[in-house]
Symmetry: C2
Subunit: 201 residues, 2 copies
Amino acid sequence: MNKRRQAAEETKKKIVDAAEKLIAEKGFDNVSVDDITSFCGVAKGTFYVYFKRKEDVVQDIGYAYFSAVGEEILAMKESGMAEKLRRYSEKFMHGVQRCGIRICRQWIKNVLDPADLPENYPSKYEFDVAMLENILQDAVEVGQLSGETPVETLAHLLISQLYGMMTCWCMSGGTFEPKDWVGRFADEQTERLFAPYIKKN
Amino acid sequence: MNKRRQAAEETKKKIVDAAEKLIAEKGFDNVSVDDITSFCGVAKGTFYVYFKRKEDVVQDIGYAYFSAVGEEILAMKESGMAEKLRRYSEKFMHGVQRCGIRICRQWIKNVLDPADLPENYPSKYEFDVAMLENILQDAVEVGQLSGETPVETLAHLLISQLYGMMTCWCMSGGTFEPKDWVGRFADEQTERLFAPYIKKN
DNA sequence: TACATTTATGACTTAAAGTCAATGACTTTA
DNA sequence: TAAAGTCATTGACTTTAAGTCATAAATGTA
């Protein structure tokens, strides 16, 4: 990699880090692009070199963490669906807690306007869908899920659970431990949620 | 009621109706306060007589519909919890469908920033929580729910389901019939969701 | 060394939210 | 019933912040 590209990537990282810190502190709507750029010492125009719109920076926050999670889950070749789903729920909520309420809010908001996302831009939502479809597809191939209901539909059911959890956490002001929630939810509820689709034999 | 107050209420209704029509058509972010006021023929300042901030008008959209629903459910004195919850889910999703994706998005977004709501302003979210707590409290008193887990917690569980449904519907671009979803969800899933909290005897 | 490419800049344009002092229609009261 | 008082309404104005773009600087290439 040449010096120019490397410097550019560092610049982008500086912007994302500044955005993460400031948005976590004050909330998206109370942080201006000027705030972000002056905080990390670049010009306003530089922001718009890397992001088409102010909202787009939110997609990059937490990206490194969730990429790592993805790698980890995909590597769990020997584990079954339940194990993978549990791990994924845990990591999901851990990321939620780590990034904070205000950033989660913005993730959810971005999810609600998927049409407005720039093309070829992997949103957190698309990432989550892909992960869950992958896990479920494996379960179909192994014969654990009947496969009658499309994997896509089941993935959406689960996504609504995960985003529901995240939304609840935001609404509660972050007052409960996501860990507890995952314990109660990922085990009890997910099992219940899936019961009708599990292959009987 | 005197002539002035009546005129004022008509003015407010004109604004809310215009806002509903325009936001349903173009989405909240693509409608300016100027658009709304010029559409219904009042001055911009008039908008700010009735609403502190642009976002606040969204709370009033659908208000008449959901008030009526509330009355209806509260009047179902003879019905049990399951019946009431089913009816409520149906009405909830009917309202969702009636008001449209763009308005639902804004409801969800507003829910995510509860702290920013003006005081003494009943948000759709607060309305939903109150309704569900009421239904569940009755079930506790009748002895149908064990009451070990606080009603508030269960209400939140359900709210996350309802808002999850609404969010999914928005994400899918409104491509499925909420009715089908309620059938699958309100019956199968809600039953499953509540199973561990139902009193055994 | 000279030319090309990529990255960074910040003053500028544009858009829209929100304010407020002035107006006059309606209501009260003496 | 006319003067005093109240309250909904107005729209020009202020303010804030998003997003643009011509230019400059740094790096890479021939």
